[in-house]
Symmetry: C2
Subunit: 283 residues, 2 copies
């Protein structure tokens, strides 16, 4: 059996009781280590589980999946995934490859940022499409996420912005020369995401403001390390968010659409600047 076990978002103890039983009894256990991270490392997990856990990077999960699936028709193999295992199609793809080999699978779900973002007070049912904000490069500055946020806002919906993660980047030089030397991991902060959004706002100066359009004083919510003991949430304006220090990864940014009073009351708990006023949000 191939088990896909969600680890939740915080530390080792955010695994479910069912998931822990699988980890303890499986023949082999892999930790998927490129789509997200916990606040604890592999050592802590191995200690908590009392067993060896192999790191599986993107190549192992996506190309060399035979290693993971080897023998899973007769024994139990577990792939641990931070958050919930089925957020992205990466793991759906692994399931399809398992099914091709007649290997049965089971998913043990857990919290992911897609539902735990409820912590900022905005109702989950009022979110539109989630967007990914990617690191801009010198010659590649996509803006599609901005338009999706505005589109959600025009429809009164909140937007969860997932911020870029670069886990095993190679410099162009190393890539060209085929050297497997990787840069240190990079995680986009709420500051960087806000800065990119402000740059887009500035590029699109218009005579009139359209409904839903983002402005530098649009209220937003920055979150860091959701679900962990070190969770931080700040409500502020997009402009001020550029300078808010939310500490280590992972960060996410939420741009509200239409808000209800109770949502605003909750967001108020996280205001840190005395001149930021949320009353404008209540219709």
């Amino acid at each position: 059996m191939l088990y896909l076990v969600g680890l939740g978002l915080g530390d080792a103890k955010d695994i479910t009781v069912k998931g822990l039983e699988v980890v303890k009894s499986a023949n082999r256990v892999y930790l998927e280590a490129y789509t997200s991270i916990l606040t604890v490392g592999l050592d802590t997990l191995e200690k908590f589980y009392g067993r060896e856990v192999k790191l599986a990077d993107r190549d192992t999960v996506e190309q060399d999946s035979d290693e993971i699936l080897d023998g899973a028709d007769i024994e139990d193999v577990a792939l641990l995934v931070v958050g919930d295992p089925l957020g992205a199609t990466t793991h759906t793809d692994l399931i399809l490859r398992a099914l091709e080999k007649k290997i049965p699978y089971k998913v043990i779900h857990n919290a992911s940022i897609m539902n735990a973002i409820g912590c900022c007070g905005l109702q989950l049912y009022n979110y539109g499409e989630a967007v990914s904000i990617v690191f801009w490069e010198e010659n590649w500055k996509p803006e599609s996420f901005y338009d999706k946020i505005c589109h959600n806002r025009k429809n009164g919906l909140h937007t969860l912005c997932l911020l870029d993660i670069k886990m095993k980047e190679q410099t162009t030089e190393n890539l060209m020369k085929g050297r497997k030397i990787y840069e240190p991991p990079r995680f986009m902060t709420v500051n960087q995401a806000s800065k990119q959004l402000l740059d887009i706002i500035q590029n699109r100066v218009k005579s009139e403001c359209e409904k839903g359009e983002l402005l530098k004083d649009t209220i937003c919510v920055g979150v860091a390390r959701v679900g962990s003991d070190a969770q931080q949430i700040v409500t502020s304006t997009l402009e001020k968010m550029v300078n808010v220090d939310l500490g280590g990864p992972l960060h996410s940014l939420v741009i509200p659409g239409n808000t209800h009073e109770i949502e605003v009351e909750m967001m108020k708990q996280f205001v840190i600047h005395s001149d930021v006023n949320l009353n404008s949000l209540i219709k």
Copy 2:
């Protein structure tokens, strides 16, 4: 401390290790029993936890929250919630009332249908706004969910349809007479939801079909008891879904928007009618 502990979606063992520690050590433990249900009952939970758990219905959580919050400033009180605690604003409201009384709170997240729906193979990031399909009554047949589904489809997005739950309904007679006699709980099935959607489609016969519009042969995915050992998933047409038996609650329905090949491959695993063909979904 007020703890809001997510129980996940399946059975007693879907609680996290962290959540279980809280349940075992808290002074009082309540189970919120009206927004969702597990596949196991209160008895099973009490046995698994080795302690007493009080049932908290809508009145207790929403109006008589003083009972739950009583003493939570000096001792630990846990409210257990099926799925994740912060999906709906009901529990945000309880947090606000706790904060008013200077009671600190902590949320222990878990899987909810909002992320576990990834099990049907459609990528979470491509969902638009979720909709609630409510039980129609003789003189009240809202159709707004239909329009939201079409709106999502027009934008290429999938829709998760949450199906109605009636937990402590009173007949009009009992309500008028102030008798606290409640009807048995009702959970909308995928059949009922599909039937209501088909009725709307029939009501809106048009000469031309608009982009994104639902038709009786639109492919959809019915899911039941997601995350439990008794999970069932069926891909079929809306029309055929009216007669698919997915067993006991809870059910949800997914209407795909634009689909990628890998999403379609996964959906194919759940086709039960030989004349249902998903190839039309691949653009």
